[in-house]
Amino acid sequence: GRRPSNPPWYSPVDGNYCLTCGSDKTLKLWNPLRGTLLRTYSGHGYEVLDAAGSFDNSSLCSGGGDKAVVLWDVASGQVVRKFRGHAGKVNTVQFNEEATVILSGSIDSTIRCWDCRSRKPEPVQTLDEARDGISSVKVSDHEVLAGSVDGRVRRYDLRMGQLFSDYVGSPITCICFSRDGQCTLVSSLDSTLRLLDKDTGELLGEYTGHKNKEYKLDCCLSERDTHVVSCSEDGKVFFWDLVEGALALALPVGPGVVQSLTYHPTEPCLLTAMGGSIQCWREETYEAEGAPG
């Protein structure tokens, strides 16, 4: 799938910042509540496809069409390191829990683990088990979860020293851990989201109704793991009840494709990206501070 622009990313700690990136080769740091642009980070040669922040909000990483993974300093806006080695576009980047390693998944079907501490230009390790491009990577304290276009979800367990490969079949667009760390949510190009048990790989739930045939769309779980949220190509955001699997809400966002979304880490607050704009959604009781354009 291809990604148009501006996938938002929430600061995982407090949700006070939001990071967007896009085809203008820059990263932008926003205050999502006020809609103010805090900083622009430019240095990429091509469109920026994904960005993530460290646990302490001190550094950012991003990857894009220029095959490079860039480590940024948040405060100064300078490029700290530029990791080159991928043979193709970098689809997804993630910090590990302590922001000592950047994991980047690329269209060249590898995940590369870049060491932020040393000055080594080569990756610490290259996970090249996938047979097709990596679309999504998530990292927990001791696991690396990777979804690939070859239709498999691979979970590298560093503690056990094992690789679990779950076959889903359809090209995988997005994966994420549940917040309790017990499940993995997998969205694939057959317009289906699946909730898999992390340890056994069994199917816990299936969520359909949205449309995802073409684009690399995001999915996530709500702040308390009560709902499954996914983008859709028909301009809506779909909410399912996690346990029952029933469609809870189809939130119309706009006319185009909802490309990306992120849930606030602690509050019921959702960011969606469509076209060139980011929208911030909250519950009705919340006094609105406006949805920035």
Partner: protein, 936 residues
């Protein structure tokens, strides 16, 4: 009209000015014009010296127009049209300058354009000293005359000192101090300096008018002479003391024939320079000299072609230094100046209160003479010759070391120069370089080494004897030639035996072009090895001429030496390629994700979990574990990623299957031979041939497994003993697959194979008509095997035995004979253990678990069921084809995989899915029942 008028005005103005100018010029010249210049001689030029023509005011006036005018037909220069987009912004704003004449724009015109020092900043003091210093600086500056900045920027105000002095009655140009009676003599100008052209006003402070007056009244006092400040410029170059280099002044404007003195004298000469500089600078600064020729405006052209001769330069360091014999170094001027300075020390002026003159001069520092050199000292270092320690020259070495004052080396403490890199490394406790044997000697067995040692000792003894003899001979003088052949022979023999006596001729063939010669060379080496000193003579061809022999002797000796010396050193420099190009094995992951078709069906049935999951051993990098704060799960392993094993490279033959029918009586006989052959030569590298053999066996397994599958119940194989956890897992996954699969998978195995026609086209074996008609799998594979053998026949030349058998086999149609197959199988299994699994990737985990015992049983059963299976297959044939298409359609949906890997997975799948199963027959039956349902 207005235009014409202004033009006329302009013309008038011009004319007036020009006329005025000529007048003034004449006045300046000082000649009073006797006659008014006739009109025709009154010329007008513009500032560039070009003539200007006048026309009558009423006959066209000033000839504005095309020719000598403002530049255009209209008589003015139109502002040029600029149409580029960039320049659109800057509009041409006309200032007053645009309407003014050029003359008015000059330096002192109405609107001066160049930067001129204003009165505020103009220096009020005509400070000659400063000027002089400036000139000096200008002369010594890298670019002569580059003191423009100093010229421009001068202090606006005089310093306080100046002000004070002035108030005390000091005038510029005077010296400071009490006034003196007699005015000091003027310094005579240096006679050596020629004065050219306009010289600067003389440097003295006095007015030039009074110079001639000798009359001096008694009561007149004079101000003391001004003192030029000493130039204390710090030495910031790397020249020697007082070395100035070539004065750019001299080089550029230097007078011809003068001697260039690189070492100018002490301070007094600097004073000279100060005095002279103005005079030398008489000429205008600028680039001149031989290379530039003489300009038309230059007056002097006397020495255009003066040649630069070396005689102008010092070729010898000055030796007219008075007295001291220190050649080539500029003596400190102390000696000379000390006496004077003592005089000078007497201070003439008033001594301040509280101070008194020193009664004794400061004691000068004592100067110690440099240490005296020994008489026989030679300032050249002499290197002692390095002599390698051999038995021959040990005496010499000893002598040398004694002469050097060193004690004789005992072997324990060798000097570091005699150690080579390896030994130094050993001393330092480094681990020796692995992999690359540094010497061929390491290839030898212990026994051989001992033998070599003995031989060496023997030769040493002999050599010593020989040497003694030859020495005696040469001493007696009976044989005047310097080196007898014996001695020569001996020397290289020594070298050989010392360095490396055992040359392995197999990989070094210097005379490969000439087999006979090579043979002789090898013989020579062999003799050498045995320690025969006449090895060379013996191996030479007696039929050759003396000269040829001599040459060959030289060649052999040199070749042997060359090999001995270079091989060991070179081999330590290079390491083996990680993956040899011609090796038949590659590294592939041990476990691979199996084919997805069964998983697809599982996904369709939403049976996630065991069916869709593959689990592998995976080794994270140590550093990654560290960064993740996770203990390394495999602390002992150096592996990273998935475990890998060596497999055969993918080739066509890897994917061919050979049925057990291929083993004919002939093969059996031959294979037994092969087995013996192998037993005798275990270390031999396995050839392609082995691969095909293994495939044969592999196929027998698959055959058996398919049989087992077709007949579910009784054919349940025994669960093989599990080697370790991973393999258990692998089996599990395999069994999963088998559960999930059915006859369908069999077709897939076939589908991955290239079509029959391809093989036929390649190997063109025609004798199989039954197989071609029925497309029986057996026929196929037999055919394939033939192909394999033929190809092998061409490729491998070593296994003659095997080949012979294979050819025989190919010529005869092979009746089925299962019994004799087993020895081969056993042997192969052994070999597999020795060399590791060598089959296409996915097969391996299964293959490893297989032991001989179950195989045998399976095999027998296999034979029995064979016929029934055949029929069964034929029935299925149609179905298969049908499903093949279906399968392809499915495959399209999948994302493209690497061709090789997909191929391998597919082909291997056909084998691995048939692996030993531990499922219950009930389970299998259940699957079978379900299958037709799915198909609908």
């Amino acid at each position: 009209m207005g235009l014409a008028w202004s033009r006329w005005k302009k013309m008038r103005k011009l004319r007036h000015r020009e006329v005025k100018m000529t007048r003034i010029a004449e006045l300046v010249k000082g000649e009073r014009p006797k006659k008014p210049i006739p009109l025709q001689d009154q010329t007008v030029r513009d500032e560039k010296g070009r003539y200007k023509r006048f026309h009558g005011a009423f006959s066209g006036g000033f000839s504005a127009g095309y020719f000598n005018t403002v530049g255009s037909k209209e008589g003015w220069t139109p502002s040029s049209f600029v149409s580029s987009r960039q320049n659109r912004a800057d509009k041409s704003v006309l200032g007053p300058e645009d309407f003014m004449d050029e003359e008015d724009l000059s330096e002192f015109g109405i609107a001066p354009k160049s930067i001129v020092t204003t009165d505020d900043f103009a220096s009020k003091t005509k400070d000659r000293i400063r000027e002089k210093a400036r000139q000096l600086a200008a002369a010594t500056a890298p670019i002569p005359g580059a003191t423009l900045l100093d010229d421009l920027i001068t202090p606006a105000k005089l310093s306080v000192g100046f002000e004070l002095l002035r108030k005390m009655g000091w005038k510029e140009g005077q010296g400071i101090g009490p006034r003196v009676k007699r005015r000091p003599r003027r310094q005579k100008p240096d006679p050596g300096v020629k004065i050219y052209g306009c010289a600067l006003p003389p440097g003295g402070s006095e007015g030039s008018e009074d110079e001639d007056d000798d009359y001096l009244p008694e009561n007149v006092t004079f101000a003391p002479k001004d003192v030029t400040p000493v130039d204390f410029t710090p030495k910031d170059n790397v020249h020697g003391l007082a070395y100035k280099g070539l004065d750019p002044h001299q080089a550029l404007f230097g007078t011809s024939g003068e001697h260039f003195n690189l070492f100018s004298g002490g301070p007094e000469e600097t004073g000279d320079l100060l005095g002279d500089i103005g005079v030398n600078k008489g000429r205008k600064l600028g680039i001149s000299g031989q290379a530039f020729g003489v300009g038309a405006l230059e007056e002097e052209d006397d020495d255009i072609y003066a040649t630069e001769t070396l005689s102008k330069y010092d070729t010898v360091l000055k030796d007219e230094e008075p007295g001291d014999g220190l050649y080539g170094w500029t003596a400190p001027r102390q000696y000379k100046s000390q006496k004077e300075s003592e005089k000078d020390l007497c201070y003439v002026g008033k001594i301040l209160d509280g101070f008194s003159l020193a009664s004794k001069p400061l004691s000068s520092k004592k100067i110690y003479p440099p240490p005296e050199l020994p008489r026989d000292y030679r300032p050249v270092h002499y290197f002692r010759p390095v002599v390698a320690a051999t038995s021959e020259n040990s005496h010499l070495l000893q002598v040398l070391s004694e002469s050097a004052g060193k004690p004789t080396n005992d072997p324990g403490t060798r000097s570091r120069h005699q150690l080579n890199a390896c030994k130094r490394g050993e001393l330092l406790g480094e681990t020796p370089i692995q992999g690359a044997p540094t010497s061929v000697l390491e290839f030898l067995s212990q026994k051989d080494k001992e033998r070599l040692k003995e031989v060496k000792q023997a030769t040493d003894l002999k050599a010593a004897q020989l040497r003694a003899r030859s020495l005696a001979q040469s001493a007696s003088g009976s044989r005047p030639q310097p080196l007898s052949p014996d001695v020569g022979h001996c020397s290289w023999h020594m070298a050989l035996s010392g360095g490396m006596a055992s040359t392995r001729t197999s990989n070094f063939k210097p005379f490969a072009k000439d087999p006979e010669k090579q043979k002789r060379y090898e013989e020579f080496l062999a003799n050498m090895k045995r320690g025969q000193k006449d090895a060379l003579e013996r191996c030479l061809d007696p039929g050759m001429t003396e000269w040829e022999r001599g040459r060959e002797r030289d060649e052999f000796a040199r070749a042997a030496l060359l090999y001995a010396s270079s091989h060991s050193t070179l081999s330590s420099r290079f390491t083996h390629a990680q993956e040899e190009d011609d090796s038949e094995q590659v590294e592939v992951p041990r476990d691979q994700e199996n084919d997805v078709s069964d998983k697809q069906s599982a996904v369709k049935m939403k049976m996630f979990g065991k069916l869709t999951r593959d689990t592998f051993e995976w080794h994270p990098d140590k550093l990654l574990c560290k960064r993740f704060n996770v203990p390394d799960p495999y602390p002992d392993s150096t592996l990273v990623g998935l475990p890998r094993v060596k497999r055969d490279k993918y080739s066509v033959f890897s994917f061919l299957t050979i049925p057990e029918t291929a083993s004919s009586p002939v093969t059996q006989a031959s294979s037994e031979k092969v087995a013996q052959h192998r037993a005798s030569d275990k270390s031999r590298k396995p050839s392609r041939w082995d691969t095909s053999k293994e495939e044969k066996k592999e196929d027998s397994i698959s055959e058996f497994l398919s049989l087992a599958r077709s007949k579910v119940g009784p054919a349940k194989p025994e669960p093989s003993p599990l080697v370790n956890k991973e393999e258990a897992r692998a089996t599990e996954s395999v069994s999963n697959k088998v559960v999930n699969k059915d006859v369908d998978s069999q077709t897939e195995g076939e589908g991955s194979r290239p079509s029959m026609d391809l093989f036929k086209a390649i190997f063109a074996s025609s004798s199989d008509e039954k197989s071609s008609s029925s497309e029986d799998e057996q026929g196929d594979s037999e055919d394939d095997q033939e192909g394999t053998r033929e190809a092998d026949f061409k490729s491998s030349q070593e296994t003659d035995l095997v080949e012979a058998s294979s050819v025989a086999q190919a010529s005869e149609p092979a009746p089925q004979e299962p019994a004799p197959f087993f020895p081969i199988q056993k042997m192969q299994i052994d070999e597999r253990e020795a060399f590791g699994p060598r089959l296409p990737p996915v097969f391996c985990p299964n293959a490893r678990q297989k032991l001989e015992a179950p195989l045998k049983e399976k095999h027998k059963k296999n034979k029995e069921k064979h016929k029934t299976k055949k029929e069964h297959r034929r029935k299925k044939e149609k179905k298969k084809k049908h499903r093949k298409h279906k399968h392809k359609g499915k495959q399209k949906n999948k994302k493209s995989e690497k061709s090789s890997s997909s191929e391998s997975t597919d082909s291997s799948d056909s084998q691995s899915e048939e692996g030993p199963t531990d499922l219950s027959p009930q389970e299998l039956l259940r699957r079978l029942k379900r299958l037709p349902l799915r198909r609908q």
